[in-house]
Amino acid sequence: MDIIPKQQNEPDRRANERPRQVQYLTPLVDVESTEEGYVIRAEMPGVEKEGLEIMVDNGELTIVGHRRHLKHPGELAYREIRQHDFRRVYELDPTIDTSKITARIDQGLLTLTLPKAERVKPRKISVE
């Protein structure tokens, strides 16, 4: 059981009618697994709270981060930063209680906490 990242270039099933024209960047992500559940940390510089879209549908977690486009004075003289929005899709471990997923973003780092359902948590049973 795990949280499995899905291939990014896999075509979006819901967009069969028209080819997807939006290009996304894949954020760098750490996935930590604990007894309590999972913690996902995704780097999305330039994304604030309002720019986040997090969806759980049919066992799939989709994270989209829209960048806040800042206007800097002057002309661009040198570029390395890509301006695309971020997107990443994960296949969720079925033991996760999707109603209890929480998210926060701080300095462009999104932290998602995905707790396991109570019934699957390891429990020590004391003998009377």
Partner: protein, 155 residues
């Protein structure tokens, strides 16, 4: 002079040497790219993590933008040595709570990025801000470096 292309993904030690070779062609291309015309040079660095930077310029100032998500303000250092701006810092790894599993793509540790500015700046007036994981450094040009307009009167 050395130019190291920005790498989005941190590399493993094993791949580093190999990638250097395969990247050589790209690096050569880059040397002849027009970035030089603008006068900026992104200097090479020994750290494996190199945040991406953008540079903007107008007649009064330079604005350097760097992506350094998930840090605290205190962990970022900005220094100016002559005409070289250096952004550095260290991102501390999150404490692992469980022993069960960890899949990591993010990079931790020290980073450093240096840029050579094409003209002198007023050190006293350099300002920086950090928001949403994006660092912005505004460097006003020194008076003597600003383009001057000379009026020529026709008689």
């Amino acid at each position: 002079m050395n130019i190291i292309r920005y790498q989005r993904y941190p590399q493993s030690d094993f791949l580093t040497a190999f990638d250097r070779l395969t990247n050589m062609h790209e690096e050569l291309d880059r040397v002849f790219e027009s970035t030089f015309a603008s006068g900026f040079r992104a200097l090479g660095t020994l750290s494996r993590w190199t945040p991406a930077v953008d540079v903007y310029q107008d007649k009064d100032q330079f604005t350097v933008v760097a992506e350094v998500p998930g840090m605290k303000k205190e962990e970022i250092d900005i220094s100016l040595h002559g005409d070289t701006l250096t952004i550095s810092g260290e991102r501390k790894a999150q404490e692992k709570q469980g022993e069960q599993g960890f899949r990591s793509e993010r990079f931790f540790g020290k980073f450093q990025r240096s840029l050579t500015l094409p003209s002198a700046v007023n050190i006293e007036k350099v300002k920086a801000s950090y928001k949403d994981g994006v660092l912005e450094v505004v460097l006003p040009k020194a008076e003597e470096a600003k383009p001057k307009q000379i009026e020529v009167s026709l008689s």
